[in-house]
Amino acid sequence: MLNYELVVIGGGPAGLAAAIEARKNGVQNILVLERDLELGGILQQCIHNGFGLHIFKEELTGPEYAQRFINELLEMDIEYKTDTMVLDISEIKTITAVNKQDGLIQISANAIILAMGCRERTRGAIRIPGTRPAGVFTAGTAQRFINIEGYMVGRRIVILGSGDIGLIMARRLTLEGAKVLAVAELMPYSSGLTRNIVQCLHDYDIPLLLSHTVTDIRGKDRVTGVTISKVDQNLKPIPGSEKEYQCDTLLLSVGLIPENELSLQANIKLDPRTGGPIVNESMETSVEGIFACGNVVHVHDLVDYVTEEAQKAGAGAADYIFEEITEKIPAVPIVPQEGVNYIIPQNIRIDNLNGFLDLMLRVTSVYRNAKICVRADEKTIKEVKRPHLSPGEMERVRLNSNIMKTIRPKTISLYIDGEKTQYAI
């Protein structure tokens, strides 16, 4: 059995930043395990620009953003194994993994950081009727085919879902010579960034059909067409609104799911709202010494925030290894209320707070001229003005640890005070 102070599962942006931060905090004996052939994770296929605006104050492409962290990891001489699949994690922090060099390996760790990311929802998850021909891809799979493997996925494309990956792929396919007929979105608003709607759809005159969905897929061996229908306020297709599109490819950009099979094996409690582990102020899960960060915890819209969260997990794991955090003390729950979908972290141990505590949250609908309000027990202690809030954009509220230590609330809750509105785009 191999022994490490810290094992990081996943070598994408979260795993890289967590490992680097743990080393900066004094952890010597670190191992990063990555199932792909190289480090960098999904960033390697996200060749578009727009990464790093918050952290580096410049617009990098995905591979450039990843390369900076890979270089730092290599300079620090942090050990890693690529092409290595983790099969199991136990509650006592034993990891079983397999690769071609070492065969089956068992690793014992003082602390573990989970950074497995997320995966895409598929056709099965949204139950589109129709035949089952080739030519139905998730947007991320198509992205990998085109940007890494060098295969074009089709010529006439319909995209379902207007999340950022769907929008980015609409542009990418157009640049590579395909015709993107339409992007259909079930909701009356797009969950993608405004910038992507303008630069990926409007720049290329690609229609965005809000309140529409795909209701049929046709074709025997290959997709020959899809039907797009308008939906009503309850998101049900409206009979008579069907429109036929002749296409050879359907891309699905219909949401991401944190990838937590390993977390469940270690008996880690998940939050049904995020699909990821419940974490505390140090990004520690419900199992002592197992931390988590990035899209495995909740799906982020900016990699910059993944990096920041991973740094918190890396520092938290270091504190755990050096016994600088107090483990067995009651945690204060942070509860989402009116207008708030979820909050990360879900609970905090006030004695472990230091400096500032950032709460990450998503709202349930679009608001204008709103305030994000923080309530400690019965009293509202903080209000942050936001001219615009949308479920597609993660929000951050910063709390001062000293104030928390003075008030010592039993619960903290967040709610939105503002006017719900019709959608911006």
Partner: protein, 127 residues
């Protein structure tokens, strides 16, 4: 959205921040910048609209063919934003080149793509 209402005005969505103000830009010889902008809620909206009207630019990212690596494609980008109307001319040039590894992030692959004065660079290391 670039729907022309008439010859003198154009509608845009501002991308300076996530609010996404709907802007209308009017050609107006009397105003300082030759354009008048409506619908913006801050000054950045005016700058955005004028840039979009006079010299819209975008960073272009794509991939080029690689022959001797475990991956088939190398991601590339224009080092700075290029004029929007040159995007497809740039793609033609990008599709014509092949790269032999090793390549370092930042290596120049085309000096002056589509006569834009801007180089095309590699956006990662590839062995």
């Amino acid at each position: 959205m670039e729907k022309k209402r008439n010859m003198q005005s154009k509608e845009l969505i501002c991308t300076a921040c996530p609010i996404g103000c709907r802007l209308t830009v009017f050609q107006d010889e009397k105003s300082e910048n030759w354009f008048r902008v409506e619908g913006n809620s801050c000054k950045r909206g005016i700058n955005y609209a004028i840039a979009e009207m006079t010299d819209p630019r975008r960073i272009l990212t794509s991939t080029v063919k690689v022959t001797n690596s475990h991956y088939k494609r190398l991601p590339v980008r224009t080092r700075e934003a290029i004029p929007k109307h040159l995007i497809f001319s740039c793609m033609n040039e990008i599709n014509r080149i092949e790269v032999i590894t090793p390549v370092r992030m930042g290596d120049i692959l085309i000096d002056n793509i589509a006569s834009s004065g801007i180089p095309l660079i590699a956006s990662r290391n590839l062995e």
